[in-house]
Amino acid sequence: MNFSTKMFSLLSAVALTVAFSTGAMAGDVIKIGIAGAHSGDLASYGLPTVKAAELVVKHINEKGGINGSKVELMVEDDVCKPEVATNTATKLVSGGVNVVIGHICSGATKAALPIYNEADVIVMSPSATNPALTQSGDYPNFYRTIASDDAQARTEVDFAVNVLKAKKIAVIHDKGDYGKGLAEFAKLFIEQGAKAEVVLYEGITPGAVDYSAVVQKIKRSRADAIIFGGYHPEASKIITQIRKKKMDTIFISDDGVKDNTFIKVAGKYAEGVYATGPADVSSNPITKQYREEHMKVYGSEPGAFFDNAVAAAIVLTNAIEKAGSTDPKAIAKVLHTQIAETPFGEIMFDEKGDAIGVGFSMYQVKDGKYVQVK
């Protein structure tokens, strides 16, 4: 009897805390969760987002916060693993997070979203490009400041077939979630277009010590162009070996490769490589400002998805400010209806959660820099 009354008071106390911790506002802190890979082999894709959010939030707090409440970051590592991501997500939700920037990898994002969905938390990823995330309609709370894989594959294939007039295309991927998904779309689009043929479709093993066997195979297939789905470490290894073998095959890749690290690592071999990426934003004042700040604060150039993460942080804080509360419905309304100034220019979101105004253009490496192809 006594026990059950105690139990009841305990339970109601828990219930009350839960009730108070959601939807509180004004004078309170606003908690922004940052979830992604911050350790392990994919850390280099997750850490720039943390830095981006830190910089944006520093500005906001210096100005006195959003509508008078300070912004606080809750940084949580998910190692890009689905099973860890669910723990990360519940941790953030239990901690009373208001909005989340993340997760970085599509797989982890897919695992975490049902939890955010249930808790009614808005999630915005700077980097998860899997088409199903927005197109399936399963995840109404999800937004992203990056375009999806199929849009990217479409740009690549159109460019290869219509602009470069490639007839024989080798499609190579890194067997990963992102790379293979992209390669599948590319293969599909090439076959649908029927103007060119896929002469080779192969997955390479990321991290392997040497790719010369695959390079020989590409050479043998007599492809005029390679479409590669994957990230820059593998891309630079392959392009280096291709060029060392005196092959001049055109190399087209994705925004995992449109990274300055690629040019720096591949050096002279990067010259002439095509890669799709978000429209050129280096002249945008916001982009410039944050890149310079990153240089000043962290002493290095920003890493992967930094601009996207800055955009996500700006868009979300902006939406909370305009909505005047952390109520997810109010935030969502702002996201869908009002324009925000970001590193990508003015963006807002369509009903599926994809950013309008974040599209892809084609770039080529010229003299050690990515230059937009007109």
């Binding site: 350790s39 082999d41 850390a43 280099s44 850490l47 067997k175 192969e202 997955g203 390479i204 093993t205 991290g207 392997a208 010590v209 040497d210 010369s212 066997a213 695959v214 390079v215 020989q216 195979k217 050479k219 043998r220 820059h232 470490p233 630079s236 290894k237 280096t240 070996q241 060392k244 073998k245 005196k246 690290t261 720096k264 690592v265 591949a266 050096g267 890493g303």
Partner: protein, 300 residues
């Protein structure tokens, strides 16, 4: 036919690199019966040290040959130092523990070293300076075999010869073989077993460091995670050839490298690792102690 030759050389290059790492595994196993999971990390540290040294030297404006030599020496010295320290800290206290305890200690060490380099240096991929120039005389056959492939093959060959000489004819080599056969007996005849084990770790680590330098220069980039996959593959190669046997490790490495190259070339690189591991299973079914491993006959 040209295609076949090309694949053959690409397999040989892979095999040589596996061999340089596999030797460390097999030597350590031969002497203390431990799968040294941290060995891949020693290879990574070798690559990283040579990256740091080579970059510093190239900023200071040293000539290429000097950079190559100094970076290789530095990599060997520091990798050996790490190998030596890891053995003293993580394995020596476990000399008489159950067989699996040092294995877990090795796994822990591997995780520790990876994260140590991640924190002390960077999580990003770093461009490795090209230490092996494109030789002019290689120009006509550059499509088949590149300059760095040639250097890797030659270095591996030279290292094998030196190692064989070391094991066969020197005092320390004899002590190593004696310790591998029977540690207690070796102690009784006056061999300082701890000393021999340390030397084994030092030699194994230096070989891995040279492997690290060569492969990093060949592919042109490194990060803190490269040791993991290379380590697993080299370990597979060592077992394939019969773990504990030095010629076995080399043979196993070449077989593994060639299998991967031909599987990629004639079937699909999607399944290259499946081929590699299936081959391993097949060979072990018919020769349970690997190709050149001695079948252990247990006397009761």
């Amino acid at each position: 036919m040209e295609y076949f030759i090309e694949l053959f050389f690409s397999g040989l290059t892979r095999g040589s690199i596996y061999a340089l790492i596999a030797l460390g595994y097999t030597m350590v196993y031969g002497i203390i019966g431990l799968i040294n999971f941290a060995h891949g990390e020693i290879y990574m540290i070798g690559a990283f040290t040579s990256f740091i040294v080579a970059t510093v030297l190239s900023i200071l404006g040293f000539p290429l040959l000097a950079i190559f030599v100094i970076a290789a020496l530095a990599a060997a010295v520091w990798s050996s130092a790490y190998g030596f320290t890891v053995e003293k800290l993580a394995y020596k206290p476990l000399r008489n523990a159950p067989r699996l305890s040092p294995l877990i200690s090795a796994i822990g060490m591997s995780i520790f070293l990876q994260n140590y380099v991640l924190l002390a240096q960077t999580s990003d991929f770093m461009p490795f300076p090209q230490l092996i120039p494109e030789f002019g005389f290689m120009e006509p056959i550059a499509g088949i075999i590149g300059s760095s492939d040639l250097v890797i093959l030659l270095t591996t060959a030279v290292v094998m010869v030196i190692l064989t000489w070391l094991i066969k004819f020197t005092r320390i080599g004899k002590a190593m073989r004696a310790t591998a056969q029977d540690r207690t007996m070796a102690m009784l005849v006056g061999i300082n077993v701890n000393h021999v084990i340390s030397v084994t770790f030092i030699i194994g680590s230096a070989l891995a460091a040279i492997g690290g330098l060569l492969i990093a220069s060949h592919v042109g980039q490194i990060n803190f995670f490269i040791g993991f996959i290379a380590g697993i593959k080299a370990f597979t190669a060592a077992v394939l050839g019969g773990i504990g046997s030095i010629p076995g490790a080399v043979l196993g490495s070449f077989i593994l490298g060639l299998t991967e190259a031909f599987a990629t070339g004639y079937v699909s690189s999607d399944y290259e690792d499946v081929f590699a591991f299936s081959l391993l299973v097949l060979i072990l079914i018919f020769r349970p102690s690997g190709l050149l491993g001695k079948a252990t006959i247990e006397k009761v």
